[in-house]
Each structure stands twice: as C-alpha cells, then as structure tokens.
Subunit: 203 residues, 2 copies
C-alpha cells in the first residue's frame, strides 16, 4: 500500500522522539548527547539528523506537541457552561493526568522548557504566556459573574494557580512528594481547594 513507506518513516520519527523523552528526562537536555538518543532509539546517529535539523528541534517538537494539546483543552473547558471552580478542576486534572500518563515527558517540558528562562523558555514565551492569558480570562469572567471575588487580579490568580500545579509536579519529579493513583486525585482536589477555597478557617 502507498502509506507503508511513509508510515514506517513516521514510526521512526516517533521512535526517536520517544527515545529523546527518556534520555532528556534521565540526564537532562544539556548533559545528554545526541548519540544517547540514537542508542536509546536503536537507530544510527545520523538518522536523528535525517528527521530533525538539530538537537534543539527535537525538544521544540516535544514541547509544542504537548503544549498545543493543553491550550486546546483549556479553551475547550472554558467554553463549557460550568462554574469556574469546575473549569479549574478540569484543567488541573488534565495536567496531572498528563503527568500520570507520561511523567518523563512532563518532566522534560517543565524542567527544560517552561522553567528554563534563558534557553527554551524564552523561545516559547508566546505559547507559555498564552496559557496564562487563557487562565486569566477564566478568572476574569468568574469575577464578572460574581462567583469569584475581585480582590485578586485575574492575571495574578492565573499565575498562582498554574504555579501551584507546576510546583506539585516538581515535587513529584524531585521525589519529595508521594506519588500514586490516590495521590494524583488528592492533588487535583488540594490544588483547587487551596486556590479557590483558601487556607483561612471559615468564620
């Protein structure tokens, strides 16, 4: 069939990307060599450069693939007619589930891109900023509707919400926070409860 050849090529490309996730995650982008990725993928060194123009482009691809899906998910959630608290829960849930599904990939995205202000973070600033903007809009609409109070600027609330999520993932990545099915669900609840409910005791 006509697609066999191109299908095989797509598979090889994917094979290299998957190997890169493991390699970047294990040793870090800077510390690992392109030959490590090739070894991990079980292909020759040169083949990596047949599919990707540079080592950088591999990480760009991994980041954009996943980040784009996340942005779409945020837009989709925001379009639903549910309370803001539920929207935030759905977004926290999506990110936590992304980690559950592929912790290595999320580690790479967070450690090497969203937190790397000097290298990849700067290159993908627009995509990262877009997430803050979308989250800010959710908060802003909730404030206008009266379900969130207006004490905190929407843009700022978005940062705090996303920051709490990223810090929890970082806790898992560093191994300072317990992991497991129950912990993942618990985390979603805690994140929303902290940001929406606050720590203060009820009068």
């Amino acid at each position: 069939m006509a697609t066999t050849r191109s299908q095989a090529a797509a598979d090889k490309r994917r094979q290299i990307l998957d190997a890169a996730v493991i390699t970047f995650s294990d040793r870090g982008f800077h510390a690992c060599r392109v030959s490590d990725i090739a070894d991990q993928a079980g292909v020759a060194y040169g083949l990596v450069y047949h599919y990707f123009a540079s080592k950088d482009k591999i990480l760009d691809t991994l980041f954009l693939e996943r980040w784009t899906v996340m942005l779409e998910r945020i837009r989709e959630v925001d379009a639903q007619a549910v309370p803001a608290r539920e929207k935030l829960w759905a977004i926290a849930s999506f990110i936590v589930d992304s980690y559950r599904h592929d912790p290595n990939l999320m580690k790479v995205i967070i450690v090497e891109v969203t937190r790397a202000a000097n290298s990849f973070g700067a290159r993908h600033m627009n995509e990262i900023r877009e997430a803050y903007v979308l989250l800010g809009q959710i908060v802003e609409k909730a404030q206008a509707a009266g379900s969130f109070r207006s004490e905190v600027a929407p843009q700022f609330a978005a940062l705090a919400f996303y920051g709490a999520i990223e810090q929890v993932l970082t806790g898992w990545i560093f191994g300072v926070l317990a992991q497991g099915e129950a912990e993942y669900e618990q985390a979603k609840h805690y994140i929303v409860e902290t940001i929406c409910g606050g720590l203060d005791a009820r009068e």
Copy 2:
C-alpha cells in the same frame, strides 16, 4: 595593617561572585563560559580557579549563601507570636524583597538551581526540601490552632504557597508580568490573599 591582604582577597572573591551573578543571569549557567565571568569581573581567567575549585562551585556558593539566609528568616518569622497569615506575608515579603534587591541573583537561584531537577536542584535537594518542611510546619500549627482549616494537607499547602511565589518571580524574570515598586507590594498582598483567602466569592 594585618587585614589589608586578606581583605583584598575577600574583595576579589566577592568581585568574581558578583560577576558570576550577572553572567549566569544574562546567558545562563550552561551557555556562558568561565572566561565570560573573568572578563566581567575584570580579572584573569586563572584567578577564578584560585578562588573556586570549579564553575559548579561558584553557583553552589551563590545559591547556598542566599538560601541559608532565607531558611533562617523563615525560622525567625515562625518563632514570632503572630497569626499564620502574617507569617506567610513576612516570608513572601522577604522573597519578593530579595528579588527587588538583586533580581539577577534570584533569577540565577530559581532558574539554575531550584527548578533544575537534573543538575543543581538534585544536588541541593535537602536545602530546598527544608524550606518546604518549615513552611509546612507553619501551616500545620495554624491548623492545630484553628486559624487555618484542615481541608488541605500542610505539606501540600506549603508547595502551593511557595509555587505561587516562584511563579510570580518567574513572571518578572520572563518579563510577562509588570514590575515596579507598586507591583512588588501588590504581589505580596495578592500571594497571601490568594493562598489564605482563596478566589471564591464570600457567601
């Protein structure tokens, strides 16, 4: 006098550390060369190795110098007989003021150490974890005293609080969040208000 010589040596050492802050901050730890630091400090390449065993040790020194002060400040704040909300405000205030006083240093600490899970973050995991532990204890005591509700695990609340702060600093570092005297003060208020008060509207 007897201290002239050793004083001059201490000054040179400080000069190199200050130059490293600027250089690491501008280009990132991995992207910059030791010769950049020497140039920035106005000293010969070899002198850097007279004062520091390696490029890594320079970053270790910068991080530990500042982190130790922060941990002390957290302990000091916790020892005071004030409400937990005020304790958290004082800590957020200290970190924001650290950024105000030396944004480059805080950028280096956050970008190259506390968020670098594969390299320096792993090496300084104990010091980083200690901050979470101390913050968790503040929350725990407040919950026991009834001023914070017990819905969220203390350890988790600590992550969310610290995560919100770090995300705000990252916003400033990336240039996606407005900076200035008013913004710094505003940020302290927003952080505490979000984490303690929550976003939900009051009934």
